[in-house]
Structure formats: structure tokens, C-alpha cells
Symmetry: none
Subunit: 418 residues, 2 copies
Amino acid sequence: MSAEIICVGTELLLGEILNSNAQFLAQQLALLGIPHYYQSVVGDNPARLQQVMAIAAARSQVLIFTGGLGPTPDDLTTETIADFFGVPLLERADVLRDITEKYAAHDRIMTANNHKQALIPQGADLLPNRTGTAPGMIWQPRPQLLILTFPGVPSEMQTMWHETAVPYLRRQGFGQETIYSRTLRFWGITESALAEKVAPFFELSNPTVAPYAGNGEVRLRVSSKAASQSVAMEAIAPVVEQLQALGGLDCYGADDDTLAVVVGKLLQAAGDTLAVAESCTGGGLGQQLTSVPGSSHYFWGGVISYDNQVKASLLGVDQGDLAQFGAVSAEVAQQMAAGVRSRLGTTWGLSITGIAGPDGGSETKPVGLVYIGLAGSNVPATSARYLFGSNRSRDAVRWMSVSAALDFLRRTLLEGDR
Amino acid sequence: MSAEIICVGTELLLGEILNSNAQFLAQQLALLGIPHYYQSVVGDNPARLQQVMAIAAARSQVLIFTGGLGPTPDDLTTETIADFFGVPLLERADVLRDITEKYAAHDRIMTANNHKQALIPQGADLLPNRTGTAPGMIWQPRPQLLILTFPGVPSEMQTMWHETAVPYLRRQGFGQETIYSRTLRFWGITESALAEKVAPFFELSNPTVAPYAGNGEVRLRVSSKAASQSVAMEAIAPVVEQLQALGGLDCYGADDDTLAVVVGKLLQAAGDTLAVAESCTGGGLGQQLTSVPGSSHYFWGGVISYDNQVKASLLGVDQGDLAQFGAVSAEVAQQMAAGVRSRLGTTWGLSITGIAGPDGGSETKPVGLVYIGLAGSNVPATSARYLFGSNRSRDAVRWMSVSAALDFLRRTLLEGDR
């Protein structure tokens, strides 16, 4: 028994979007332990989609479609699948009602086009779409063949997968063997330095350990395949523990942890509060911190001091120092942190000032130069200097600045515990 | 004549990496005007790879492979292709020399494994890999069938594509036609409403018009295939113009435009400046605005007033109004906008306050309720109320809030022109 992923959409053939749906579904199939040997991409073209279906139905028993469920005329997946099996489409009154209600809730008017989205092949079950208007289907058109369809919008597809498809597949007896993985996350160490530290672990066969790197972060994935998740977890646990010990402070978390999540937990545990002052990141640090639900318990807000006048007026940075040292300097970073801390009355003030590029760099202050400032209640303000490299993009420098700031606070909070 | 992309790698089937190679090659084929109807992904498995090859060779005339050219035992693409056509592999002395030299240059020792990378099917030409050790091949194993292989490392593959494959394909007469596209971007209209407005355009055959939607944005892609880019551009121009006219204010831009880019251009053209006050987006609006290089010309900064105390202390929002109307209200949105405008001394103040979820919603103020406030120099502060739907994720509500705020300012700036 194996599954096959079929992504439908001319935009994929034109290279307009990355096929992130295929990656998500591939990961999910691995988690359920469902073998998966082929992926296909085909355009919004009924004849070619039928050809791909014929090939897939002959070699795989679970066909997972994404895309082509929308309201427009080129969304043809549902009718092409029905055609392939010679089954008529029926309009589902409950779906039509659901779409109508969703439009009304957003103060929008439904169009004739949307009626199409209520059509499902006779005999197929609905795969409800709670967050969008295009439902999918679960259908066994013949024995040993199961079809699931999803819209192409990743967030809708993922919700539908988790809420309906996974429970359904488990009820059908899928997911009896499982691949279970944990991912350790590192900041402040290069991939090659970490690889050297943990080299013997790469030789293991169960669990396996593999490194990944990107955007300044390094990850180690520890995976085990076993009859049950608990057996796999048992195989993984001691390896994870040893890797965490080897990683030390550089290992900031695991799995879904982000630096913002980890910092949030540390702040909340300490009963501390935080304010930020941002220059080159323009709000990105606050944005990351508040991406965590419940962050209002410890994050109070801050100042986006993109213009130097704002650094002086709202944060109290000394005009003379701004002129003497420049906006991108240790002195200004520290004053920004201290200023936002005292104005908001928080335990900590965290600041970022740097040159994100592509312009604005100089010989002494190149693109990628960033200062992080930190002010606390009982300690003098400190700062750290980073050189992220002038060959990095503006987005990358800004992302790494936000991460470095969070990591700077994380290490300070952890060291304070000792 | 059409091309097909075949990506080989178990890591793709496990969802460990995104298939960015398929997107790159798809874009490149479109630029060369080479039709491309199918993409396949298959693991490092000779039997299944042969099966995929048989299907592809029967329906496409140019097969482009990525992955499986490395030195490890599971890299099997070259030998599987040779096997499929019953042709022996020959060791190329020049390739072996090149690999040896590359290893020496990095102070590394070549292993026996690397010998494998010097094997090429008899009759095939080398597709040199200047930056890595795994070369690819260009091979016409039979008339009307051309095979190109590339390593899976994106940077190596892309260099090889540009330096060798494109000139080769042009010499073979490919790339005489080109596909040229433009994408119009819309905010504030649903996909189905826009589709109804522009329905007749979907019937066109050259150029073609197709809709896409996601994260609250709708896009129309206008594509033309022609002998040259200038001819394609000519075919597209009048259709783009008509669609823009039909879209009216809902059409905010084209191609790489973002709402932040468009708003930035409008502000700069008017000589206006902007400050922001953000609650539930926590800095995301400033982050978007400053993602545009040169945004310091019009964006001065702002206040992240996540906590209500900060709304009062740094923005001057009335404590009584906060208590009476709540933080998520038209009154507070307007006072936030007016407050940040007067404190920073900018032309405009733009604010966001809302309930991003997943918690914090109520019957009267559900998750997804967001107010945008706007204050200008000559007009009283205004606000708009949005219901993004309580079924949306925190990330989605925050993203749509930022986009709605930018769009609100955009429309105001455009209407001011009249």
C-alpha cells in the first residue's frame, strides 16, 4: 500500500509558486508511516490530469490531490476526477449553505461561480473546509483506491489534513507504523562546527541523526521508525539528551520552539517583562515576540525608531552621541534599550540598530553590521556587535538581527539563573 | 515538443526539503518558451526511476533530471538512465582529473566513491559542473529525445543551467519562442467577485488570463507566448490595461509590487511621511513598511502599544475611552493613529488594534475583529472595521490586518489625488 501526491495547477508548471503543499503532505505521510514513492505536478488541464490519474491509480492506492477546487472556470479537479470514474456530480445543499454563510459572515456576496464548489461526485464524502469556501472530498471510487482532494491554499489544506484526513486515515488502519522525529534547534554555532562536535551520531542507524542549516540556524533531526510512537520516542530520547548536553547553551530548543517562544517562557518563568526599540528591523522583533499567543503576559510593546529623530524624542538617545558615534553603534544600541525600558517601565529593554542594506553601508560600517542592546533592572546596559556579511539580502540581515536579539536576551536570562 | 522535469531524491519524498529546483526549472522553461506539462518526483530507487522515465519518454521530448549525481551509493540517476537505454558507462579521465583537483584545492582527500562521478553513458556529452564535483550530462539516446541531468544542489544546478544548458538548448533551436507573463494584484475584492467582473477574459487564448488567490489577495496572471519577449509584451499590454481599468481601486499593483511598495511610492510622490501604532500586529506593519529599501524616506517609525498602558502613556489614548469602548474599538484606533502622528510629527498616523486569537475573543468582539485607524494633517481621524473570521489562524489575522492597514492608507492617498 502506498500513497501518491498529485498537485494540480498551471502556476506550478510556470514556476510561479513553490510546491510547499507537496513537502507538507510528504512530511505528514512519513509521520503516519504511509509509504510514498511518487509525486506528480500537472496543469489545470482535464486530459493531462486524467492521464496522470490513470498512471497513479495503477501503482498507488491512496491518491492525494491538491489544487483546482476554487470557484473559477479553470478549477477542474473535482469534475475531472468524477469524469474519470464516470460518476455524476451532485450539488450538496449543506455545502452551498456553508459557503453562503461564510460569505455573509464576511459581509460579502456569493457569486454564481461559488455554486460550483458545492458539487461532489455521487458517493463521495465531504472533506470539510472550515477556514475557506472550497471543500474537498474523501472517496473510494473502487476497492483498494482512496481519493482525497484538498484546495491549493496551504493554510486551508493543512487544517483539513489535520482535522479530518488524519483521523479518517487512522480509522482506515493507516498509520500503524510511524516515523517519529524530534528536531533540536541551535543558534550561535555553525553547521560544520556542530557537525564536528556530534560526528559519531551521524553513523547511527536507528535512530538516525541528520543536520540541516538555514538563516543562521542549525538543526539536528533525530528520527526513528517503529511500530508505535512510544517505541520510537524511547529510541530517540537518550540520543536527544546526549545531543542537548553536547550542544549546551547553543541548543535553544526543540521541534516547534522558536527563539521567541523560548524567550517568552523564560520571561514568564522569571515574572519579567520586556519592551523593544527597533531601528533596522522596523518592528520585526515585536512582530516575532507577539507571534506567540499569550505574549501579552510579558511583552508590553516598544518603539520603532527608524528615523534618528525618533531615537532622540521617544527613546531619549543623546543627540551628541548620535552625531559622534552614529546611529549604528554600541552607545546608541545601549541608550535605545535603556530608553525603552525606562519609558515603558519593564524589566528588560532590548534594542536593534544596524545596516540592513542593500544601500547605506560604508568601509567602516558595512551592510550586515548590527548592534543589539540590552538593559535590565539591576545591570548596566550592555551590547553586542554582529557582522552578518554584506553579501546577505536585506531580508536575511533583518531576520538574523531579530534572532540574534532574542538569543542575546535568552542567554542573559539563562545565565542569570545560575 | 515539450519538456518534463524529473526530480530524484528520497529527501523530497520524506518532505525534508522544498522542491525549489522544480520551481527554478519551470520558470526557466517558461522564459525559453519550452512547453512543460508534467513534473515528477521519485526516490533514489532504480526500478521506480525507470518506470517514471518510461512514462516521461513516451509523452515528452526533453527530460530534465535533478538529483542523484552525488558520490554516495544511493546516488543512482546516471547508471539508471544508462541502464534504461542499455548503454554502458565509461569513465571519463578528464572528469576524474577535475574532481581530484577540486578535492585537493579544499585540502580534502578524494574517496573511492568519487570515481563513480566520472562515469557517463557512452555517447553522452558532459554537462560540466564548475562549482561542484558532480557533473551532469547532455544526451540524445534516440531521435526526438534529449536528456539533461543536474545535481540536486540548487546553486550548482542553476550555474550549470545558465552556463551550459541554455546555450546548448538555443543552439538546438529551442527558446525561439518565449512565454511572458504579468501578474495584476488585487486587494479588497474576493476571487469569485473579481472572476465575475472579468469573466470574458478567461476565454482568451493568447494572451491567457488566469486567477489565483491566497491570504486575502487575488491575482490575475496574463500570459502570452510569442516569438520574442517584445511581441509577447505587446500582446499582453492592452489586456493588462483593460483588466486594470475593470479592477479600479481594487487593483493595487502588478508583478513584484507589494502593498508596502505601492504605499511607499505614493507617500514619496506626495512628499508625505508616516508613523504607525500597532497593537495586535506587534510591529508587523512597521516590519512590512521597512522591508522596502529606501523606506526611511517616508517612514519615521512608531509605537508598538501591545499593552493598554502603552496606548495611554506613549500614544495619549484616553483611559476613559479605553475602559468604555475597549482597546479594540473605532475610538481607540483613531486615538492611536492621531497620537502617533502628533508625537512623531508625520503627515500620517496609521494604527491597528484587533483580536488576533486564538484566545481573547467574545460574542461581541470575536477573534478576527480588527480596527484600522488613520489620522492625517488636514482631516479628522477615521477608522474602518474588519471581520477576518474567527476561523483564521493568528498569523493569518495579523497578516490580513497589516495588508488591510496598508490598503486603507493606499486608497486614501489615491482618493486625495482626485
